[in-house]
């Protein structure tokens, strides 16, 4: 499969406090590559959390990897996979959407039991089948917030999933876990996000503001921020 050439590019604008301004889809993808799904430190778990728009950002990261010619495994827990966004991003990069869509392999889980089975049992074999190193987990916790599942059972399932993720991260798999914040009625399950954060090599928070979306990474060598202007985001 032809590999799309991607060049490192400087972001053209910065805000007063030195944060990068991302002004085009290709800039957005490039920024994500160098931040959320970093290529300089490819291993491990990265957590991207915030309001529901994180799912679109997670999909942008998947497209970025697929444009680079990498097979991507996309595990959809919140039924948020949007193939039309993939198509738009592919066209913005002057690549046929079908080419990118074929590089992303999707499985949807509608219950927490399915999600955990997907991560613990199906994912390792899918990584081998598709020779993939990059995994996007979109909404792995959403199914665990289901009030029909008792909290102790949800906690047990979460632990099984977190262990499997830890094991894969140690094996050198790139894991981008995209999640919204816990809903107010999640009770003890609100700990799940914090537990994933503690486990992640990097944690990036997304905040929505009137001027755009702010990505902020805490920890690491130095705190970093990126801004995606609202007009660009709305155009995606």
């Amino acid at each position: 499969m032809a590999q799309v050439q991607q060049q490192a590019m400087e972001l053209p604008f910065y805000t007063d406090d030195g944060s990068a301004v991302i002004e085009a889809p290709r800039h957005l993808l490039a920024a994500l590559r160098r931040s959320a799904v970093s290529t300089d430190q490819p291993k491990g778990l990265v957590l991207l959390s915030g309001p529901p728009s994180v799912y679109r950002l997670g999909l942008c990261a998947a497209v970025d990897r697929a444009l680079a010619g990498e097979p991507v495994l996309y595990l959809a827990g919140a039924n948020v996979f949007d193939p039309f966004l993939v198509g738009r991003l592919a066209r913005a990069s002057r690549v046929a959407p079908a080419h990118v869509l074929q590089q992303i392999h999707v499985s949807r889980a509608f219950t927490c039991h399915q999600m955990v089975r997907l991560v613990t049992d199906c994912l390792p074999s899918a990584l081998r089948t598709y020779e993939a190193r990059c995994v996007i987990l979109a909404g792995p916790l959403d199914t665990l917030y289901d009030q029909l599942v008792p909290e102790p059972e949800a906690t047990r399932l979460f632990r099984a999933m977190a262990e499997a993720l830890q094991h894969m991260a140690e094996q050198g798999i790139q894991l981008l876990c995209v999640t919204t914040l816990a809903p107010s009625e999640s009770g003890g399950r609100s700990r799940f996000v914090a537990a994933l954060r503690a486990q992640a090599r990097r944690a990036i928070d997304l905040c929505e503001a009137e001027d755009g979306l702010w990505l902020q990474e805490e920890g690491g060598f130095e705190p970093r921020r990126w801004m995606i202007p609202r007009p660009l985001w709305n155009r995606l």
Binding site: R108, H113, V116
Partner: protein, 739 residues
């Protein structure tokens, strides 16, 4: 298991069947030993044995531990203990309701005509069915029904405006007035004396029964709502849930033992298919009547699938764990599609025929053997005839799946009911048959959704995709057959087509239906021939056609109406009535040319209603707007009209949850102060007024949707129906509108 029997001599007997439910557990030996140790500590008799059973779609049986619990009342707590203590074990048959399991295992169903041998102590020694759930000609036991409701015009007594208690039985109606103690004592006397089998209430779950029980408790007075003195009254809290993309509110439940409590305002089945339909659903699904009345139709179809699994000796998994297989995003885009829709050609057309596939999706499941275990089976992947059109799936050609096995008798029974309906001479008999076939229709409708529903026990998304792929292919085949015969398609939506051909008569459309049935293998019939039909465009963009928004006049004089105010639950009654009158006026036209001649008369009707509004004569009932809360009241960020009404109710101490319906009137929709914009209807008192302009707009919109395709512009409509203009005389409710 307690079983209530209505004997031929009229006695109501409480009998006990020594039923022993079982469940199954699959796990490594150490876990099985741990489970056995736990079971030995149980306070009732428990038998275990190692057996082999099949999972759905499994090629080999798996070894499982069969656990038989001799005290059904302890079954649930024991299985929950095992689930908590053995988290790595696989459980089967643990969470199916015991009354359902009892019906499956004993081959019985609710309200069955049966024969039982009892001991003197009332223990059942044998019990046998004397009829089949698939019988269409069955009688019902002579049930005594007591109705309880409130003498109030409030849309919801939980929101205010309560009245006195009304009791009806055997055609006798009584108003139970007086102080609280009087009401409780008189009601209790009536319950003891009449001993009804069914308590049919309005708002019984959320208001009436809880209120009566609280009063009786506070006054320390007896109130024998239950017939069975050994059992407490079942209580379930209100809750909200998602269904078909909408959030709905469930009012909780108050269920009785030895007697049935049915709440007309908390039962989808009762509202849609009446008591005859509800009983039909309970008979075929084997879900007890009180639960069937309150649960979703999907629970019914699931129960039928569980029974099929039990009958075939298959294990029923506790939690569905099998996720979707990985597929490329391109495959996902191709497979994850719904039914096919051809947008309508907007405007009025004449001499149109409508053809509908009969129960299309369930028929596809049966004909093409679509079931979770048959889609992408291992045995038929290379058979060309097994391929699903468009997408890469295939279905099994060798073994009939669980879902088709479950649905086939349901489809067949509905066909028999339709034939009986066509032959029925009496209106009452036809109405009962219609309720029963509609009840089956609802079960068939949800059977498709449950293939893809997350909590469906035997659902699988690939099976869901296969059904829609077949449906798209079949609709295209139907279109091609029609076009080959010279018909032009005006609109098609999933399983229905609207076609036109100059000079075509009923026999031609019947011939076309026959040709399509032969081509596709699925039954399609002529829904009717329209003298004229109007497909309406989007109200936002008049150039954009909208599927399933139309009005048509059949050749037999009836009308079919979809998607406009008269069918919408949130339109004020006055607007619905005005639209109905305009439609009645238009229905006097048999052709498009005649339709145009009706325009002046239609405009006059609109003018009469506008005048009625402007004179301030509309009543609360005519103006009330019903809206459902799409989220919890606290979660609203904007001051929508329904939110403002909800806030008024919350301030009065009314409990509200997502999915609740709020009734309000618009008092001054553009007022600067939000609380001035609307008022909640329940408990409204004192002086009130309504926003004439806001309701006038709704009225004009409802008229415009019908008249705009006849070249009546908004400006023309407004000017020609000006309420200040005095021309001819009109009336509302047969009352002169004081012109």
């Amino acid at each position: 298991m307690v079983v209530w029997l209505l004997c031929e001599d009229g006695r109501r007997l409480r009998a006990v069947d020594p039923y022993v439910p079982t469940c199954y557990l699959a796990a490594p030996t150490p876990i099985l030993h741990h489970a056995s140790r736990l079971l030995r500590r149980a306070s009732c008799r428990i038998d275990t044995r190692e057996v082999e059973r099949y999972e759905l779609g499994g090629l080999c049986p798996i070894p499982v531990l069969e656990i038989s619990v001799y005290a059904p009342s302890q079954f649930s707590s024991l299985t929950q203990l095992l689930i908590r203590s053995c988290p790595d074990a696989q459980f089967f048959h643990v969470d199916v309701s015991l009354p359902q399991r009892y019906f499956y295992d004993r081959q019985l169903f609710p309200l069955i005509h049966c024969e039982a041998d009892l001991t003197a102590e009332g223990q059942i020694q044998s019990i046998q069915a004397l009829e089949s759930p698939w019988d269409t000609d069955y009688g019902l036991p002579p049930l005594t029904i007591m109705e309880l409701s409130l003498d109030s015009s409030s849309p919801n007594p939980n929101h205010g405006g309560r009245g006195a208690l009304i009791m009806r039985i055997n055609g006798d109606e009584r108003l139970l007035e007086g102080d609280d103690a009087d009401v409780i004592q008189r009601l209790n006397q009536l319950l003891v004396r009449e001993d009804p089998d069914i308590l049919l209430t309005d708002w019984g779950d959320s208001y009436l029964l809880p209120r009566l029980m609280t009063l009786a408790d506070r006054l320390r007075l007896p109130l024998v709502l239950n017939r069975d003195p050994h059992r407490p009254i079942g209580a379930r809290k209100p809750h909200s849930y998602f269904s078909y993309g909408r959030i709905l509110s469930h009012a909780g439940a108050r269920t009785l033992s030895g007697r049935l409590h049915l709440d007309r305002h908390n039962s989808f089945a009762l509202a849609e298919v009446g008591l005859a339909g509800l009983i039909e659903q309970a008979r075929v699904t084997k879900v007890d009547l009180q639960q069937m009345a309150r649960t979703t139709t999907g629970t019914g179809i699931t129960s039928m699938q569980l029974e099929t699994a039990c009958r075939d000796g298959l294990l029923i998994p506790y939690r569905k764990q099998e996720p979707e297989s990985f597929k490329s995003a391109l495959e996902l885009l191709q497979t994850d599609q719904g039914g096919l829709v051809f947008a309508p050609i907007a405007g009025y057309h004449e001499q149109v025929g409508e053809l509908d596939f009969s129960s299309m999706y369930p028929s596809i499941m049966v004909r093409f053997n679509i079931s979770p275990e048959t889609v992408n089976c291992r045995c038929c992947r290379d058979e060309p005839a097994a391929r699903v059109p468009e997408i890469g799936h295939h279905t099994c050609r060798r073994c009939q799946g669980l879902v088709p096995r479950t649905l086939a008798p349901l489809l067949e029974k509905r066909v028999r009911y339709k034939k009986l309906m066509a032959a029925a001479a009496q209106t009452a008999a036809r109405a009962v048959l219609d309720q029963r076939q509609t009840a089956l229709k609802w079960l068939l409708v949800v059977s498709f959704g449950y293939l893809g529903y997350k909590n469906a026990r035997f659902g699988r998304i690939e099976a869901h995709e296969a059904v829609t792929a077949y449906s798209r292919d079949i609709l295209l085949q139907a279109k091609e057959v029609a076009e080959r015969q010279g018909y032009r398609m005006l609109h098609a939506i999933v399983d229905s087509l609207w076609l036109v051909k100059s000079g075509a008569v009923r026999a031609d459309y019947d011939g076309l239906a026959q040709a399509i049935t032969e081509q596709t293998g699925l039954s399609i019939g002529v829904e009717g021939l329209y003298r004229w039909i109007g497909f309406f465009p989007s109200r936002v963009n008049p150039l954009m056609p909208v599927p399933n928004q139309f009005v048509g006049l059949f050749d037999h004089g009836g009308m079919k109406i979809r998607g406009i105010e008269i069918r919408r639950s949130d339109a004020p009654f006055l607007v619905k009535r005005a639209q109905a009158e305009v439609l009645r006026c238009l229905s006097e036209a048999g052709t498009l040319a005649e339709l145009r001649t009706q325009i002046p008369q239609a405009l006059e009707i609109v003018r009469t209603y506008r005048r009625y509004l402007h004179e301030g004569r509309a009543t609360i009932e005519e103006l009330a707007i019903a809206k459902s809360l799409t989220k919890e009241p606290q979660a609203y960020r904007h001051q929508t009209l329904s939110m403002i009404a909800a806030q008024e109710l919350l301030a009065r101490g009314v409990h509200l949850q997502a999915g609740d319906t709020i009734h309000y009137i618009m008092t001054d929709a553009d007022a600067a102060c939000p609380s001035d914009r609307v008022r909640a209807v329940a408990g409204i008192d004192g002086a009130w007024s309504y926003d004439v302009s806001a309701y006038d707009n709704l009225l004009l919109k409802a008229a415009l949707v019908l008249l705009m395709p006849l070249d009546v512009t908004p400006a023309l409509l407004n000017a020609s129906t000006d309420p200040a203009r005095r021309t001819t005389q009109g009336s509302i409710n047969g009352e002169s509108a004081s012109l």
